[in-house]
């Protein structure tokens, strides 16, 4: 069959750095093509080229040919791409928050009143709101999602936004190629499966799909072909018959991976942190009346779908979001509104949005690692009469940073490199290093492995175990990766609708865990 999209020897460089080296790709109509690779392998750059994003041309364009439907095309901007029939579902949503669902779905292809269309032309024709809402509802029904089309985007949860974004692309009549960048990253298991089903339907209708995802299992379940990128080169091509998880993973990272596994232990019996009727008002992630005892020295996982409150515990305890109720640390009450006091007690939080709240992207690795310790514990400082005007002791700081870089295997030029230039996995290692300097008694970590490739993931999980075993730090991990929680935790707390639904042992039945996430107990079935 004639291919819908053919990429020939696409190369792209940013300054001295070659991010794509002569990548070729061919996709037939109706094919679901998986595109995988570690962070920084060049997936996003390839997608940006395909969708004509301005950053590609501002940084000097690319070389190579793109054939669409058999014709050689030049995609200079996103409008060109859309005109060809290419749709893209972005990882960070491209939705307008203060417009409603129907307006967002039909944007650019609004239904208008016909007579006004004839008299004034399409651009000035009056929009037929009713028809648009009907159209939006029709599309959403096809997707199997029920949302009031009058609702504003900003009031929707993350997973619903994902479906609205998809609906907008499907709404285009002449859609021939749909690009999805990590569409399931923000979704829970159930929603992710529904989304994959939708992709199957679209593929049956003859639309070609490029799917980028970190979740190898789902890529393997829906894709017809897989292309693996490594360091800007195609390092492997697999077709449905030859899918093999180990081989694919090996071709992604260039070596095989060993998974971290710890055995669940019995707790020490001494509580270190007690929550009594604890509530946190965190937008989209609120929790209510939580009662929980956390034992000294354990690793406790908090699982739950997006929006069910798994992130609120850490944020509330450290005073990032307002909370009520009581928290006892070592049997004494602590004031959760006071972040500084919490830090002084030895509590520390690595928040879920690494790039937004976890790092100073334009500062060096060293400055990032020592920052909290300098500010809160006066470490790495030279003596001076005024405590806040003490100079940073560069020598001890550099020595410490070098040691951390070596221990955590942070891939970088040197300790002065800006954190912005590191890959996601290495950025997370920098965050961990910063927590380690603080020598916290209790460490809250949220989504430690989100958006991180499989090689770096294991190092981070191993390091969490090291912090726990060697420093005796109690760790509270909130994560949507059940498999990882099962591997490193002693107990797992399941959050459902802002409340604790169950506390399970880490070696429980995976089915029980999956059911609990959606608010069901196995004995209810």
């Amino acid at each position: 069959m004639e291919s819908i999209l053919k990429l020939q020897n696409i190369s792209k460089r940013f300054e001295q750095h070659e991010v794509l080296k002569s990548v070729s790709l061919e996709i037939r109509p109706g094919e679901i093509h998986g595109l995988i690779g570690e962070n920084g392998a060049g997936k996003s750059t390839l997608l940006n080229i395909l969708f004509g994003r301005s950053i590609v041309h501002q940084t000097g364009g690319f070389s190579g040919n793109i054939y669409f439907n058999g014709h050689k095309v030049r995609i200079r901007n996103s409008q060109d791409a859309i005109a060809l029939g290419i749709g893209m579902v972005h990882q960070e949503f491209a939705l307008i928050p203060n417009m409603n669902v129907a307006e967002n779905i039909t944007i650019g292809s609004e239904a208008t009143f016909r007579y006004r269309h004839q008299t004034d032309g399409y651009q000035l024709a009056l929009i037929n709101k009713k028809a648009n809402h009907a159209q939006a509802k029709n599309i959403l029904d096809r997707l199997g999602v029920t949302i009031n089309t009058n609702q504003y985007i900003e009031t929707l949860s993350v997973n619903l936004k994902q479906f609205v974004e998809l609906a907008r692309e499907i709404n285009k009549n002449d859609l021939k190629l749909l690009i999805l960048d990590e569409p399931t990253a923000a979704l829970g298991q159930e929603d992710a499966e529904r989304l994959l089903e939708i992709l199957q339907q679209l593929s049956n209708a003859g639309i070609a799909i490029i799917l980028v995802s970190h979740r190898l299992e789902e890529i393997m379940s829906v894709c017809d072909n897989i292309t693996v990128l490594r360091d800007g080169e195609v390092s492997g091509r697999f077709s449905k018959e030859s899918f093999d998880l180990k081989q694919i993973a090996a071709s992604m990272i260039g070596r095989s991976v060993e998974q971290v596994q710890s055995r669940a232990r019995k707790h020490s019996g001494r509580t270190i942190l007690q929550y009594r009727n604890f509530s946190v008002e965190m937008p989209g992630e609120s929790i209510e009346n939580i009662n929980l005892d956390i034992y000294e020295g354990e690793i406790i996982g908090i699982a739950g779908l997006a929006g069910h409150g798994k992130l609120a515990l850490g944020n509330g305890t450290l005073g990032i979001y307002p909370s009520s109720g009581q928290v006892l640390f070592n049997d004494t009450f602590i004031d959760c509104a006071d972040t500084t006091a919490a830090l002084n007690h030895g509590l520390y939080l690595l928040a879920e949005e690494r790039r937004e709240t976890g790092l100073l992207l334009d500062h060096s690795i060293m400055e990032n690692i020592i920052f909290s310790a300098v500010q809160q514990q006066n470490k790495f400082l030279k003596p001076f009469i005024f405590p806040s005007l003490r100079l940073i002791n560069k020598k001890t700081a550099v020595d410490y940073t070098r040691e951390s870089i070596k221990r955590l295997d942070i891939r970088c030029r040197n300790q002065q490199q800006k954190v912005r230039l590191l890959s996601g996995g290495n950025q997370q290692k920098v965050c961990l290093a910063r927590a380690i300097v603080m020598e916290p008694r209790i460490l809250f970590v949220a989504e430690p492995t989100r958006g991180i490739d499989i090689g770096a993931k294991e190092i981070i999980l191993q390091e969490l175990l090291n912090i726990n075993r060697k420093m005796g730090t109690t760790i509270i991990v909130a994560s949507s990766e059940l498999d990882e929680l099962k591997r490193i935790c002693d107990r797992i707390v399941i959050m459902y609708e802002g409340r604790i639904f169950a506390v399970l042992a880490a070696d429980c039945d995976p089915l029980e865990l999956a059911l609990a996430l959606s608010g069901k107990r196995s004995d209810e079935l």
Partner: protein
């Protein structure tokens, strides 16, 4: 090539500067005198430009509210003159008094700006403008008694300009002057500027300094590390205001007059231009950028005047300068906008 793009502004100015030197030479102007003038102007304006740095690094943008600090400096100098402080010691007294008033002014200024996070630049313009006119009342009714400062008729209210001839006129300019042929190096004034630069550099290596830098880049991150963001920003704003006050003292002793009433109104713009030419890109401006920017801006300023007057027509220089000052700010804004898009 991409590197060249980042420094387009500096390259254009540098090219312009070379052109001006050639033209000056062609017009028969004394180059060594022009170089001397530009050096003095760098030291004279440098501290004012430096004063923008703490607020920039704290994420409060360019301090268009520079008149706030300048008026603290004017108040300090007027008080010193009122008590008849003379010479280097008198100038030191003026500096100390200015710094004292600047701390008070800066604190109030910070209280306002902390309510206006993200809009500091536009707020600064209007805070600057309104305080200038507020202070006009003060200058007109101030209880100063030194007749040299007061209107000769009526004996009440300060004059528009107060001559410093009998007080601390050019005390820094004339401190440790070294003559090398035609070239005169005002070492004392230079050292004063360099010392302040060095102290600011050291400050940003301290605990508080690094906190200010971090707050400028990512307040959410700082909150997680237990930093009081408003307090840190207040410190930066006070430091900016104090430096601005010291800056105007240096400027005034070199200029020879304390200029009151509406004079501080537009003083933020040349300083802003200078730091933008230096290549400042918001929250991570370096001392080197301050020095480079002041040098490029002031040199062009010194050269365009005489050259334009000689080659074109008299008095055209002021027009050229105004176009330059505002054009550079505009260019920097366009450039900043383009970076955000990408």
């Amino acid at each position: 090539m991409i590197k060249g793009k980042q420094h387009t502004a500096q390259l254009i100015i540098l090219f312009f500067l070379v052109l001006m030197i050639i033209l000056a030479w062609y017009a028969g102007l004394s180059t060594s005198r022009l170089i001397n003038d530009s050096l003095i102007r760098v030291f004279m304006n440098g501290v004012l430009v430096l004063s923008l740095l703490p607020m920039l690094n704290a994420g409060a943008g360019i301090n268009y509210g520079l008149p706030v600090g300048i008026q603290a400096g004017l108040l300090g100098m007027c008080t010193a003159v009122n008590f008849g402080c003379q010479g280097l010691l008198g100038f030191t007294a003026a500096l100390l008094l200015s710094a004292f008033f600047a701390v008070l002014f800066g604190y109030v200024y910070a209280l306002i700006l902390n309510h206006l996070k993200g809009r500091e630049e536009i707020a600064g313009i209007f805070i600057g403008f309104s305080t200038v006119y507020l202070m006009c009342f003060f200058w007109a009714t101030a209880p100063y008694s030194n007749p040299a400062m007061l209107w000769p008729i009526g004996g009440q209210g300060l004059r528009l300009t107060i001559g410093l001839q009998d007080y601390f006129f050019k005390v820094l300019n004339h401190l440790w002057v070294i003559n090398i042929g035609h070239f005169i190096l005002p070492l004392g004034m230079g050292l004063f500027f360099v010392c302040l630069c060095f102290l600011t550099y050291l400050f940003f290596k301290t605990k508080l300094g690094t906190a200010i830098n971090a707050v400028g880049e990512n307040p959410a991150f700082c909150k997680l590390s237990g930093i009081n963001i408003d307090r840190t920003r207040t410190m930066a704003i006070i430091l900016s205001t104090v430096l601005a006050a010291l800056g105007i003292c240096v400027y005034a002793q070199s200029f020879g007059f304390i200029e009151l009433y509406e004079a501080p109104l537009m003083m933020a713009f040349p300083a802003a231009s200078a730091i933008l030419i230096g290549g400042s890109k918001g929250a991570s401006t370096s001392i080197l950028q301050v020095i480079l920017g002041t040098f490029l801006f002031q040199s062009v300023y010194v050269y365009t005047g005489p050259v334009a007057n000689t080659l074109l027509m008299p008095e055209v220089s002021e027009i050229v300068r105004v176009i330059m000052v505002n054009g550079i700010i505009l260019y920097a804004l366009i450039y900043a906008g383009r970076r955000e898009q990408a």
